[in-house]
């Protein structure tokens, strides 16, 4: 009786043995081809580098001193904030308000009750201002860095001194009555939507120095924002009659045409 399985194994061995020289030859040819192509590539890149280096050496020898920095050919790197959208899509439930990019400073509540605004002046000597109330919690300048965050002390950082301390600025203004400081604070409040405080500080600044255009303009703009458009117009007319300020005239025109609301 024939042992078929044994015969089949023998046949397989025979076949493998018969094909083996062909495989070896093919493998050797392929290896040779790959080796040759790799060798050519390295030669080419070496040549390229050599010529580049030569060029660089030539250019370096031609330029005796480093060229001065020119602002015109400077590359400006800008951050990309597209990831915020990805982030919102990933984590945050879609809310119409939260679609905006992250705010620099928390926006204060603009719709808080506004204190009554004093009647505008008949002359440029401004009436006494009302003392500003405590800044609303949302408006207090957030210290750029806080001292401690978590219980994990190894993670806390002490190098944390950057700040915009508006309260400190207010204290300094109270002590020094510096008109520029008052104007800065008024501008800060105006930019942050607290027109009541902006009004107060513009008024204080005008009391200290009534010849600062920007302060009068901020004062009038705050009045418009507080809904006292007529008073703003009167104030501007009075100021224009005394100073002939183009900026004030421009603002008055804008208010009258309804371009500034």
């Amino acid at each position: 009786m024939l042992d078929i399985k044994r015969l089949e194994r023998r046949w397989l061995k025979y076949k493998i043995k018969s094909f083996l020289p062909h495989f070896i030859a093919l493998f050797a040819v392929l290896s040779l081809l790959i080796g040759i192509s790799l060798w050519f590539n390295t030669e080419k890149s070496a040549d390229h580098n050599r010529t580049d280096t030569e060029k660089n050496i030539v250019s370096l020898t031609k330029v005796p001193l480093p060229t001065p920095i020119s602002d015109h050919n400077k590359t400006v790197l800008e951050p990309s904030m597209e990831f915020v959208q990805t982030f919102q899509d990933q984590y945050v439930a879609p809310e119409p308000e939260s679609k905006t990019p992250p705010a620099e400073v928390p926006v204060p509540a603009v719709n808080k009750p506004v204190r009554p605004v004093p009647v505008p002046p008949k002359t440029l000597h401004m009436p006494e201002y009302t003392p500003p109330p405590e800044a609303p919690a949302g408006l207090k300048a957030v210290p750029a860095v806080s001292r401690t965050v978590t219980n994990d002390k190894s993670l806390s950082i002490n190098r944390n001194e950057s700040k915009l301390d508006i309260e400190d600025l207010q204290r300094r203004f109270k002590e020094t009555s510096n008109a520029n400081l008052g104007l800065f604070i008024a501008r800060y409040y105006y930019d942050h939507g607290d027109f009541n405080e902006a009004y107060n500080y513009a008024l204080k600044t005008n009391n200290v120095n009534n010849r600062i255009d920007e302060s009068w303009i901020l004062f009038s703009k705050s009045l418009v924002k507080l809904g006292k458009t007529d008073q703003a117009k009167k104030t501007l007319q009075l100021y224009i009659s005394q100073s002939n300020s183009d900026a004030a005239r421009g603002l008055l025109d804008a208010i009258e045409k309804g371009n500034f609301k």
Binding site: S80, S146, E161, S162
Partner: protein, 179 residues
């Protein structure tokens, strides 16, 4: 069979919460807290580039420039991430060069660098143009806004050598940064 699924679910929830918390802190302007928080969960989210970018911007806004090093290394996969990585790398490099210039009087006037809108880059550009080597406190006026000026000087913070930049508007100190 069920326990790995539960673990996976819990870890996914934690991961989502971490991102949400970080985003909330950033939106509230709590940059230092966001930086600390993101840094704590950094290893877990190292491959999540939006997360890493947000950690980077939080640390940047909190003036923790040194913490940007791992952040910029982890950003590489998308054009968005690469742009932010280059931006962070530039700021880190400019800070390091400013420190060398201020402490060791290393001349860096011949360097040609990209720039950015960040305060450090603006001050770096002004310093490169005019290092004012003899002045311990270097004062520069912003060419784009004459009312804006800066003071650059060395300082120590937490026992470490640092640099400080003060921002002035009409000669009024408005912001104090320690890097």
């Amino acid at each position: 069979m069920r326990s790995p699924l539960v673990l996976l679910l819990i870890s996914c929830t934690l991961w989502a919460d971490t991102g949400q918390n970080l985003f909330d802190m950033y939106q509230k302007g709590m940059y230092a807290q966001a930086c600390d928080y993101g840094y704590r969960f950094f290893a877990r989210n190292e491959h999540n580039e939006p997360f890493v970018s947000l950690v980077g911007f939080s640390c940047l806004k909190a003036d923790h420039i040194d913490r940007l090093s791992p952040v910029m290394s982890a950003l590489a996969q998308t054009p968005d991430a690469r742009a932010n990585s280059a931006y962070f790398a530039l700021i880190v490099m400019q800070k390091k060069l400013l420190m060398q210039g201020l402490y060791d009087h290393k001349p860096i006037g011949n360097l040609q660098f990209p720039t950015s809108g960040h305060l450090l880059s603006r001050v770096f550009d002004l310093y490169v143009k005019n290092p004012k080597q003899n002045d311990p406190i270097k004062e520069y006026q912003d060419p784009a806004n004459p009312r804006q000026s800066y003071k650059l000087y060395t300082t120590h913070s937490g026992g470490r050598k640092s640099i400080a930049i003060d921002e002035y508007y009409d000669k009024i100190l408005t912001l104090h940064h320690v890097y």
